[in-house]
């Protein structure tokens, strides 16, 4: 029975169906429970959060990743699956204390002050959450002092800064400098992204990495974990 429901969650992750109302790729699943409803049902049936994460959510995302790499899936598919996994993790996270399962790390993400562009930042946030990171999305037009406060109070592992405009990218350097002045720089790794910035610019302002997109962000984070 538990295997049935876990395989249904896995299948719905692959289909990118967060809730009953979502349409996946297989139209025959329309109207049937999605990842959220099935996760709640699994918990009611006393299936452990660890099993749900390992056998259903992570296993499903692995298939999605394979389909993406063979170009059977596209980014909207990947995002739908990651969003479904992220929503399930929101339910499971409070239940994980004392378990062997930990998130891959805490990630604060923000579009810098003066910039309201957030499509790329949102995509990165969804992908990171789906990949197992605990994501705090601070939104757009976020001033340097608020970011410094959050870093101090939440003590995240990573900070992601996004800027689309050449006029706002300089704010990233301001934030890094402020982190240094507040003795926080060595406590958090800073990743930058957005159309205006580059590898060179990351080096210039003292960021730890430039990421062209969410997939590169996940790869960069994996290298940090193994280093």
């Amino acid at each position: 029975m538990s295997e049935d429901i876990l395989s249904m969650i896995k299948e719905n992750v692959i289909q990118g169906r967060k809730t009953q109302g979502d349409i996946g790729i297989d139209e025959s699943l329309s109207g049937t429970p999605g990842v959220l409803e099935l996760t709640e049902q699994a918990l009611k049936e006393d299936i452990s959060p660890e099993s749900i994460i390992k056998q259903a959510l992570t296993a499903g995302m692995q298939v999605v990743g394979e389909k993406f790499s063979t170009k059977e899936y596209f980014i909207p598919d990947m995002l739908a699956s990651a969003d479904a996994v992220g929503a399930a993790m929101d339910i499971l996270k409070p239940l994980l204390e004392g378990s062997q399962i930990e998130t891959k790390g805490k990630f604060v993400i923000a579009t810098v002050k003066g910039d309201i562009h957030d499509i790329g930042k949102n995509i990165v946030a969804i992908l990171l959450k789906g990949a197992g990171y605990d994501v705090n999305d601070m939104g757009t037009d976020v001033p340097e002092d608020r970011i410094v406060t959050v870093i101090r109070e939440e003590n995240p592992d990573y900070l992601g800064l996004s800027a689309l405009l050449t006029t706002t990218m300089t704010e990233m350097g301001v934030i890094i400098k402020s982190l240094e002045e507040n003795s926080l720089r060595d406590k958090v790794r800073v990743l930058i992204g957005g159309a205006a910035v580059s590898d060179d610019y990351a080096r210039e302002i003292g960021a730890d990495a430039f990421c062209a997109d969410g997939f590169q962000a996940i790869k960069v984070l994996e290298t940090f974990e193994t280093s």
């Binding site: 990118g16 979502d22 349409i23 996946g24 790729i25 596209f74 909207p76 598919d77 995002l79 739908a80 957030d118 499509i119 949102n122 995509i123």
Partner: protein, 515 residues
């Protein structure tokens, strides 16, 4: 069900209806005076019998007649010319139905080139850093063969946007002669594609053998009439205003057999036609009208296409400049003129001046492909794979062209704007505005696999490298590896028995054949 082609809504028009009428009037004047020089006795007699003013030209080394065609003959011919032309196919699903007043475009290959362009991708190492390697295309031109023609028809069978096939390469094998070229080029084409096959004739003596072959494949004389799996193209008029002896003779015999035929004229603005637009238009129209008139005088009701291949001369060499902007203008004008007569138009695009696949070839051909397609010709002879004018054929370029035409066809899909659609979208916008991220990504997925979203350019490389040609080459190899539905063994056997001159190696059911 016949092939759909692509229907052009609101076709592009460069000239007004009044200007089309003015061109028509000027062409009628030209046909009356100076008329045409006719080097074919049969045609001269046909025109004379039907009331044209025909006078032998004295002092000419070859027999020649001066033919002045009255407006009445042209009007009667335009009246009796079919306004819908059906081009059949071995696979009936590949039938093309062309209506002269409907701007539904079908994309067809051609013309016949002498040179076949092979390509490979040798690896080069950097002089400063030998560990850095790069693969670059190397092109090798050589004379075309019948095996190449088979490969070309085979690939075009699998290229989605190719609606019909005009032979792309002149077969120049040692055992190909004037007496067996036609049967072999038609058989090589028909045996490797189930789409419509059109070709010119090298020798009139081969016409009946070619027709016999088509009858055997179609299932008899009547079936061939019903499903004309082959058609012909003839350049009976040499610009300016001259009926050529041999092609006119072939044209007359094709008309007598009632098979579809293109009346084609290919004047060059600046040399064989006036450089000004009004001039080349009035002349090409006169030339095509003269051919159409002859077709109807020979056999009333012969299905003909209004064939226009106007081109501007290059100023540096006085050769054809297919890549020039004016060439597209001329072609669009001709599409409008043919539509004025409600006769399906055979138009030209995609021919380019460059000699190898690459950026210039894509720019030149895409410009004319887009512009001429938008004008809505029925039969767009769009030069799949052609390079260096119409001298070189490259399968790699044909694969690239297929991608171009997929984009053009997608662009021409009917707009999807209606009340139910807008109601649904309004609901969608309200839903999304109520979410924190305000993104429409979830709504992409239901339409992502239905064909409603255009696909990315298929030969896009990873990163910043330009891998277009290498990726297109991979695609070409995939297409060559796909099977082809050949003519069945019994019919093949009958064809080889009944039709003389076929090369035994083209029989795919015989051991040692090469196809």
């Amino acid at each position: 069900m016949p092939r759909e082609g692509i229907l052009v809504n609101n076709p592009l028009e460069r000239i007004s209806r009044e200007q089309v009428q003015q061109i028509h009037d000027a062409s009628i004047e030209i046909l009356k005076d100076p008329g045409l020089l006719c080097f074919n006795r049969k045609a001269a007699e046909i025109f004379k019998t039907n009331g044209a003013e025909v006078k032998a030209v004295t002092g000419s080394e070859t027999a020649c007649w001066h033919v002045k065609i009255p407006e009445r003959l042209v009007a009667e011919a335009l009246d009796s010319t079919p306004k819908t032309v059906k081009l059949g196919a071995r696979n009936p699903d590949n039938t093309l139905v062309m209506k002269g007043d409907e701007p539904r475009v079908f994309f067809i290959t051609g013309s016949e080139t002498n040179i076949w362009l092979d390509v490979d991708f040798p690896t080069y190492a950097s002089k400063s850093d030998p560990s850095r390697e790069i693969k670059l295309p190397e092109f090798h031109p050589r004379r075309g063969t019948v095996a190449n023609l088979c490969d070309s028809a085979h690939v075009c069978e699998h290229l989605e946007t190719v609606d019909g096939y005009i032979r792309t390469v002149n077969i120049q094998d040692k055992d190909i002669t004037e007496d067996n070229k036609d049967v072999n080029k038609f058989f090589a084409s028909l045996n490797n594609t189930t789409k419509h096959v059109m070709s010119g004739l090298t020798s009139l003596k081969q016409l009946d053998n070619v027709v016999k072959m088509a009858e055997l494949i179609a299932g008899g004389k009547e079936n061939l009439k019903e499903n004309p799996i082959i058609s012909f193209i003839t350049c009976l008029v040499k610009s300016p205003l001259q009926f050529v002896d041999d092609t006119t003779e072939s044209f007359i015999e094709i008309c007598r057999r009632g098979l579809p035929v293109v009346v084609s004229s290919a004047p060059q603005a600046g040399t064989s036609a006036p450089i000004k637009e009004a001039g080349i238009m009035a002349q090409i129209n006169a030339e095509v009208l003269a051919g159409i008139t002859l077709s109807q005088l020979v056999n009333k009701g012969t299905p003909v296409l209004y064939g226009s291949v106007p081109v501007r001369a290059r100023m540096d060499t006085l050769s054809d400049s297919y890549g020039s902007v004016e060439t597209s203008q001329y072609n669009i004008d001709c599409v409008q003129i043919a539509r004025f007569y409600k006769i399906p138009n055979y138009s030209t695009s995609g021919v380019c001046d460059t000699k190898i696949p690459g950026q210039q070839s894509s720019i030149e051909r895409l410009f004319s492909d887009i512009m001429v397609t938008l004008s809505g010709p029925q039969f767009l002879h769009c030069a799949f794979g052609l390079l260096d004018g119409n001298s070189v054929f490259s399968l790699l370029q044909a694969v690239l062209d297929d991608a171009h035409f997929k984009m053009i066809k997608f662009f021409l899909k009917s707009p999807r704007i209606n009340e139910p659609e807008l109601d649904e979208i309004t609901r969608q916008i309200r839903d999304v505005m109520a979410t924190p991220r305000k993104m429409f990504i979830n709504y992409i997925r239901p339409v992502m696999r239905t064909g409603e979203i255009s696909v990315s350019y298929p030969f896009e490389g990873d990163g910043e490298s330009d891998d277009v040609l290498a990726l297109a080459y991979e695609r070409l190899q995939e297409l060559l590896a796909k099977p082809v539905e050949h003519i069945d063994p019994d019919t093949t056997s009958e064809i080889f028995k009944e039709v003389p001159g076929l090369l035994p190696r083209l029989n795919v059911y015989e051991k040692g054949s090469k196809s």
